[in-house]
């Protein structure tokens, strides 16, 4: 229980720091949203100097002092009110994030889970077969795939499979002509659009999971209790799982939770290359348009998710590792 409370206090503290930084950083940057908005109208005739004030009011930028702005910000954040997007005016930031989030969660979330599960599984196999052919093959291939730049890989896939062979659509999350509805046709359309970006993410991240699991496994294999498990004449698979993999998995659980937290950030380059309407793509658009409220909103969501994922990982750790269970340090 003390462990749990400590984790909760830590969680709240981290969130506060994150929100505060999120408030401060954009305000330390040069330029302002009003200037950015004015620049958009540049070259389309004269702008009345009063327009600046009008834009300020329209965007809800407080004219109060710095501290006043901060309090206002805290209040708004607690109501999930992140203001109005400059780029997608008059849509609110919450609306835009709400639109993009499901796509990212689906694409990157599923890809991350697949990558972790398959990578870790293959890592177990490689370590158990260490030195044999399966290990050599898996280790070589994953060292190779984990080093190539995934946006390049994405472009190669698009060129080969979509542009030349027409097997997959070029970009987007669904066809322009498709009507978003829960029927087989639309779902199939979404799946077809998701395959290439998903493959890109899985291929580029699976090697990391595989290699780290293999290394953890090989370290654990040298433990006395593994040798003794063999001396005990336990079944091979039971040893591989219960004595080696379960112990080797512990460090990877943290990594997995972190990865799940970062899912929300989207896979920036993948989403850009495939023009996939997820958070990463939205963030990209927000950045090139100097859309501060949108950026802030997205950053905040990412930070909150990472912090929450860490929190969940800490709790999950308790399930997997008895050593942290009673709040005692090892």
């Amino acid at each position: 229980m003390r462990y749990f409370l400590r984790r909760v206090v830590f969680l709240v503290g981290t969130l506060w720091v994150a929100i505060t930084l999120n408030f401060l950083i954009p305000r330390l940057m040069p330029g302002s949203p009003v200037q950015a908005m004015m620049a958009k109208f540049h070259g389309r005739g004269q702008i009345n100097p009063h327009a600046a004030q009008a834009i300020r009011i329209m965007l809800g930028i407080s004219s109060g002092g710095f501290f006043h702005q901060y309090l206002q910000y805290l209040n708004q954040v607690s109501h999930f009110n992140f203001g109005v997007s400059y780029t997608y005016f008059p849509y609110s930031v919450s609306h835009m994030i709400g639109q993009a989030l499901p796509w990212t969660l689906g694409l990157v979330g599923l890809s991350t889970i697949i990558s972790f599960a398959v990578g870790t599984g293959l890592g177990i196999v490689a370590a158990w077969q260490r030195g044999r052919r399966a290990d050599g093959f898996l280790t070589t291939v994953s060292s190779f795939t984990s080093t190539f730049p995934y946006f390049w890989f994405a472009l190669a896939l698009i060129y080969g499979l979509s542009f030349i062979l027409h097997w997959f659509p070029l970009s987007g999350a669904y066809s322009g002509s498709a009507v978003p509805r829960l029927n087989f046709g639309f779902v199939w359309d979404v799946v077809r659009h998701g395959i290439l970006p998903s493959v890109t993410i899985v291929i580029s991240s699976i090697g990391g999971w595989l290699l780290s699991m293999r290394n953890n496994m090989i370290n654990t294999l040298n433990e006395d209790y593994v040798l003794l498990a063999q001396a005990k004449g336990l079944h091979e698979r039971w040893i591989a799982w219960m004595y080696v993999a379960r112990n080797a998995l512990l460090p990877n659980i943290t990594g997995f939770a972190m990865a799940i937290g970062f899912v929300v950030g989207g896979s920036l380059l993948t989403e850009i290359v495939f023009a996939y309407p997820g958070i990463g793509y939205l963030l990209y658009n927000a950045v090139i348009n100097e859309d501060f409220p949108l950026m802030q909103g997205i950053f905040l969501i990412i930070v909150v998710c990472v912090v929450l994922a860490n929190f969940v990982a800490d709790l999950a750790y308790v399930l997997f590792d008895p050593r942290v269970r009673r709040g005692t340090s090892v």
Partner: protein, 322 residues
């Protein structure tokens, strides 16, 4: 009957430039016999212990000789054949009980593991038997739901011993079981072992570098030097009549509690490089009794009634004593 019978066993490390860690070891351990194996670090005693249990790990490999356990050939047996024999015939206890237990399983689950995978037993039967063997090593059965990190080092080592006897194996190989523990706990474990012997029949191969400890516990002591057995004799006679100069040196290295000001003596020099074995007595460079002939040819292993000795010089004394 003998539980273990080795004939001319050779174990190497590596292939290209092999280290000949165990050479031409023949030995027999009788049923219920406690045998001690002593020697300094790197003499091959652990390698031999692991090879007997067929747990040698690459790059270690058995290059020649045979291992028979309870009449069954273990040298050529494959993993599938050995699996059901393991732990029911030969159990092991390693140096640090700290790492001998799986950190993520409760003590009870680790007992259940061996019992359930070697026979039909219910959870309740397992628990009762586990409590029984824990009691033999003076551990309360309340530790069963606990995890290894919640026990002290001495407790873990005793749990490891309880785990070793739970299937009533014919032989337990203990590789430096008390080395990582302090003197008080060491003493308790020794008493536990003596007590266990009265309650359950098993043979013991006790590997240690502490000859004093061996002499107190075992029936017969094997002295190993540079991969070879150089002397074997009953513990009761060894203290008074050690023959091999190495055994004598080991005994002189023990502190004597009755003469408090006598300094224990070290053995000068280093053990030989086991990459290339010279055709000579391997101990000769460090031996105070070495004669010119010792450096020219390897001494043969000679058996007398209860004594086996590999020394050309001291074997002449054997007749006088017996």
């Amino acid at each position: 009957m003998s539980i273990v019978h080795l004939e001319h066993l050779f174990v190497d490390y590596g292939r290209l430039h092999p280290v000949h860690a165990v050479r031409d070891v023949s030995l027999t351990i009788a049923d219920n016999e406690f045998v001690g194996l002593v020697g300094e670090s790197g003499c091959g005693k652990s390698t031999l212990g692991f090879a007997i249990a067929r747990l040698e790990r690459p790059p270690a490999r058995i290059t020649a000789g045979t291992i028979a356990v309870a009449g069954q050939d273990w040298t050529t047996a494959d993993a599938r054949t050995l699996r059901p024999e393991r732990w029911t015939k030969v159990a092991m206890v390693l140096q640090s009980g700290m790492n001998a237990l799986n950190p993520i399983m409760s003590i009870e689950a680790q007992f259940r593991d061996v019992m359930m995978q070697h026979g039909e037993m219910t959870v309740e039967q397992c628990r009762r038997r586990a409590a029984e063997v824990l009691e033999m090593v003076e551990i309360p059965s309340t530790v069963l739901p606990r995890y290894p990190h919640e026990l002290s080092g001495g407790m873990k080592q005793r749990v490891a011993i309880a785990l070793a006897i739970v299937l009533r194996p014919k032989l337990i190989i203990m590789d430096e079981p008390t080395t990582a523990l302090d003197m008080v706990v060491q003493r308790q474990i020794l008493e536990n072992l003596k007590q266990l012997r009265r309650e359950q029949a098993f043979a013991l191969l006790f590997i240690s570098h502490d000859l004093g400890l061996e002499l107190e516990l075992v029936d017969r002591v094997l002295v190993m030097y540079a991969g070879e057995i150089v002397e074997s004799q009953p513990a009761r006679t060894m203290l008074d009549h050690p023959f091999h100069p190495y055994t004598r040196a080991l005994l002189r290295a023990l502190p004597d509690p009755e003469t408090p000001y006598a300094e224990p003596e070290g053995i000068p020099g280093m053990p030989p490089d086991l990459h290339e074995i010279p055709q000579a007595c391997l101990f000769a460079p460090r031996c105070p009794l070495a004669e010119p002939e010792c450096l020219e040819a390897a001494p043969p292993l000679k058996s007398f009634s209860e004594l086996t000795l590999r020394c050309r010089v001291t074997e002449r004394e054997v007749q006088h004593v017996s």
